[in-house]
Amino acid sequence: MERRNFIKNSLALLAPTMIGGNPIHILQDHPMLDTALLATSGNDNVLVIIQLSGGNDGLNTVIPMSEYGNYYNARTNIAIPEKKVLKLTENDATGLHPSMTAMQNLFSEGKLNIVQSVGYPQPSFSHFRATDIWMSGSDSNEYLNTGWAGRLLNNENPGYPDGYPTADKPDPLAIQIGSLATLTCQGPVVNMALSISDPSSFYNLIDGTNASVANTNAGYELSFLRSIAKQTNLYTARIKAASDSVKQQVTYPNNSLASQLKIVARLIKGGLQTKVYMVNYGGFDTHAGQVVATDTTTGAHANLLKVLSDSIAAFQSDMAGLEIEDRVIGMTYSEFGRRIKSNASGGTDHGSAAPLFLFGKNVRGGVFGNNPTIPATATFNDNVPYQYDFRTIYSTILQNWFCVTETAKTEILTKQYPLLPLINASVCGINDKNSTFAKEALVYNYPNPFNSATKIEFKTKGGHTLLQLLDGSGTIIKLLVEATYNFAGMNSYTLYGSGLVPGVYYIRLQNEDKIFVKPIIKM
């Protein structure tokens, strides 16, 4: 494990200036400097982030079968017929879009986790702003000019890019494929990601060929400049060697997402120490013509989901074949979901919370969270409220996948967020390492949202049982129940609203090896 003290005193005192030719920003105000940080991650785990640009329609991706009647009524022109919805093993309440058979299989193998209704308070309906919020990990009314993964990587590599690559860190810290450097990996000084923006230029790199130039003197000089530019990319040789070393991969489908994931698989297997890969797949902004009217299981959105599902499944199968699935997980996200009610154009408008997929051998399989509640007569303004703040996913990945310390994690995310049981406990040896993810709901409350009081019912299998109230930041603010029960069964607790400011809270149940977290809303 590499330990580098963040040199607060020397760096923070500098006005904007140059160190070794690199611009250094004013760092005094950055929350990272509030406490001395240690480099935090000792493992070689890899995260692959799949960005679904445009705002994926979560309700037609992960279909709330327990709410099917209301779901259908809200979007008759685009609803997936009940019998066509793909069933999930031991999860009758929830199903997948019919084009996602590959991910259905992944679910059956226990390698897919569907986190329900991921979002954040006061959601933005602007693509740009919502994307920035997801990438930076900011609050809705807050502006962060760094990315959440950028802060992670900067935490471990505070001097980057001066002197990089180093003997210890010979590879890009993060790689963005298929698009240009995004906010996700923006550090306080520079972007921590190397972008391979143009897949064809990547293949040129691998093949050692050059892009064409005009038959002019400008073309002649441009060839020269490009050859120097190539030399200056210190990572080129490593990337090429890593890619060249992988001779055999599974067959990927022929689409842009799969091509990107195929490159990622090669680079991971080829030995790059890169921790974060980002790929991008767009077209989810389905305002109109989301489905073919005569068969709502087909159309633009079905095609997108098929690409997503087939590509992820191929990638996961490649991970297994290349024998690296122990150390790779993937996460999808989209800047927002879409409205509950469809519009007259056979599409859906910008919405808020939506499901998020985590996949990989070390992801705990299952559906996490409850189906969103669909109103009996949905109006055009109805949205899926969020159950899980997207930063609780980041929090979990940081602490339970990259094994970042809790202190460092809080610095990276700028606030405290709870952990969700989404990743196998053995990865980072977390405290509740024997716990398993509870597939069935173990906590209910009514009413929810609540004002004066809500009745919490929780299911215990007997033995030590803990019921905690957490605020939106994940801080435990009240111990509701701590008891050892002799028998399995339902128990209840009434939570009074007085003294609780309006907002999202979490009820966390820990019963022996089982953990369950339920969001509740105080009006």
Binding site: G21, F128, A181, S197, V213, A214, Y220, E221, L222, L225
Partner: protein, 534 residues
């Protein structure tokens, strides 16, 4: 794909083709240190002949001189008040002159950045490279200033007169030891470089001899510098013998003269040298390499250099007619030469500052902050390999003369990343001094460069046309639009909405949405190798 430089068969006949944005920008990129949007628009409307006319004809109103901006808490110039010029104060003090050398460079940057719409600074810089003096060697601020003022005031005048002025310029006398050149201890330094580097040159196979160098040195004996930094002729140090030159100079003999008349030998020497047609060809080749392209083959020698040299001679070494002929020629506008010149560091840094109209504090009224910020630019240039008015030696920077690579010598694995870091830095953080910041204003830039910046296609097209001279295919531009301006969204109106939202509600979040996307786009374009060409 071209495997070697090519030359155009088009000659010096006037260009009759369309006067497009690209042609106009091409002319300005070669005659100014980068063009502003308004410059291109103004010249585009004028047409070619009027544009060349304006670029080459300008009043001799010289910029106000450099100031004492270097007083600090720990240092005060004893002779010159802060905020007043030091050019008239003759001082031999090492510390003072060290500050003034640095002051001159900062001032020079301010002059280049603030240049008017004419060729003066680009041409002045050509001559400062041509005569190759190093300010470190001249040492004295006043002499450095005076030397470069000679170049500036004569930059588009008569070349022969320019050489005459430089020959007995105290700065040059000091730089090439002319002031130590006496009859008892001749110093051949200037006598040699006058021929090898300043006039007949070596590259055309000029056949002057070592004896010609010695004879020239003898002719030039007697010049020295007085305490007021004036060149004076001291006949007691002059070699009065007859000086006979080789057949290259028609076996000319310059008769030795005594007394004050000894100084006239200097004029005789220059008359003799300028009789040789190699002078005109050598200078025309150098001008061609500086303004068009470094590659000269037999075709260019025959169809461009020779006729230019003839015009130079016919016009008694007036510089302007030669440049007019070149800048109006169909050769100059051949597509082969558009965008083929690798920028010098000065082109890169000053060109960038002008393209983005970076607003520096006023160099007179707010001199302290202005010079401080210009000093950042000087340091950038030094990092990129071009310390202004301090070339590596009297030959100037190798990129202007070293075959076969020429301009390619500016670019290597060290300097290219520095060029990219500079543009990144000016986009991201800029430089700040006493609350005054020089940084790219992306939104203002978008408005300046494009009439309708809310349309992402129009915006991308405008930015590419303005910043680059190479052809960029539509799919590449579209890809950048989607990835950077639309950040993955498939509909153009998301950019339009974001732009309009910022313009109606310019709060921080709306600003950042637009600004971040523009920053990413501009950084990306300027990191393309194409941006290194003009």
């Amino acid at each position: 794909m071209p495997t070697s430089p090519q030359t155009s068969l088009l000659g010096l006949k006037p260009y009759q083709g369309a006067w497009t944005y690209l042609h106009c920008k091409h002319l300005l990129n070669r005659t100014l240190f980068g063009a502003k949007v308004a410059d291109i628009n103004a010249f585009k409307n004028k047409g070619l002949v009027a544009s060349v006319d304006e670029l080459l004809n300008f009043p001799n109103n010289l910029p106000s001189p450099p100031l004492n901006e270097y007083n600090t808490a720990s240092y005060t110039d004893p002779n010159v008040l802060a905020g007043t010029t030091w050019i008239g104060d003759i001082s031999l003090d090492g510390t003072i002159n060290s500050y003034r050398r640095s002051s001159y460079k900062k001032w020079l940057l301010s002059i280049c950045v603030g240049q008017e719409r004419n060729i003066r600074e680009k041409l002045t810089f050509f001559w400062s490279n041509h005569f190759g003096t190093e300010s470190d060697t001249i040492n004295y601020g006043t002499m450095i200033y005076n030397h470069h003022q000679i170049l500036r005031t004569n930059c588009i005048g008569n070349f022969k007169q320019l050489v005459r002025a430089v020959t007995t310029d105290p700065g040059m006398l000091r730089y090439l030891n002319g002031y130590l050149n006496t009859k008892t201890a001749p110093d051949e330094n200037y006598g040699r470089e006058l021929q090898e580097l300043f006039t007949v040159g070596k590259d055309g196979g000029a056949k002057y001899t070592e004896d010609d160098v010695k004879a020239a040195a003898k002719v030039l004996t007697g010049w020295k510098i007085d305490a007021s930094f004036n060149a004076v002729f001291d006949s007691t140090r002059h070699d009065t013998s007859n000086k006979t030159f080789s057949p290259y100079y028609s076996t000319k003999t310059i008769t030795g003269k005594t007394g004050a008349n000894g100084a006239l030998e200097t004029d005789e020497l220059l008359n003799m040298i300028f009789e040789n047609t190699d002078v005109a060809k050598f200078i025309c080749r150098k001008l061609y390499r500086y303004f068009v392209y470094y590659y000269i083959d037999a075709n260019v020698e025959e169809n461009i250099i020779k006729p230019l040299a003839n015009a130079f001679i016919t016009n008694n070494y007036e510089i302007k007619p030669v440049l007019k002929l070149l800048f109006e020629s169909e050769h100059f506008y051949d597509n082969l030469y558009i965008g083929c010149q690798i920028k010098s560091p000065l082109d890169h840094v000053v060109g960038f500052l002008r393209q983005y109209e970076i607003a520096f504090p006023d160099a007179v009224s707010d001199y302290a902050d202005a010079y401080f910020l210009y000093n950042n630019m000087v340091n950038q240039l030094i990092g990129m390999g071009q310390n202004p008015v301090d070339p590596p030696n009297v030959a100037g920077w190798p990129a202007y003369y070293q075959a076969p690579d020429y301009n390619e010598l500016w670019i290597n694995a060290d300097t290219l990343p520095k060029r990219n870091k500079f543009t990144d830095l000016m986009i991201e953080t800029g430089y700040t001094r006493n609350g005054k910041k020089i940084i790219v204003n992306t939104i203002q830039f978008a408005k300046t460069v494009c009439a309708n910046p809310s349309d992402p296609n129009a915006l991308i097209d405008s930015i590419f046309s303005f910043l680059l001279s190479t052809e960029i295919d539509a799919s590449f531009k579209n890809n950048l639009k989607v990835q950077l301006l639309l950040t993955g969204q498939s509909s153009d109106y998301y950019w339009t909405d974001a732009w309009n939202l910022y313009n109606s509600i310019p709060n921080l979040i709306n600003f950042n949405i637009v600004n971040n996307r523009l920053k990413a786009l501009l950084k990306y374009i300027m990191n393309l190798p194409d941006y290194q060409l003009q």
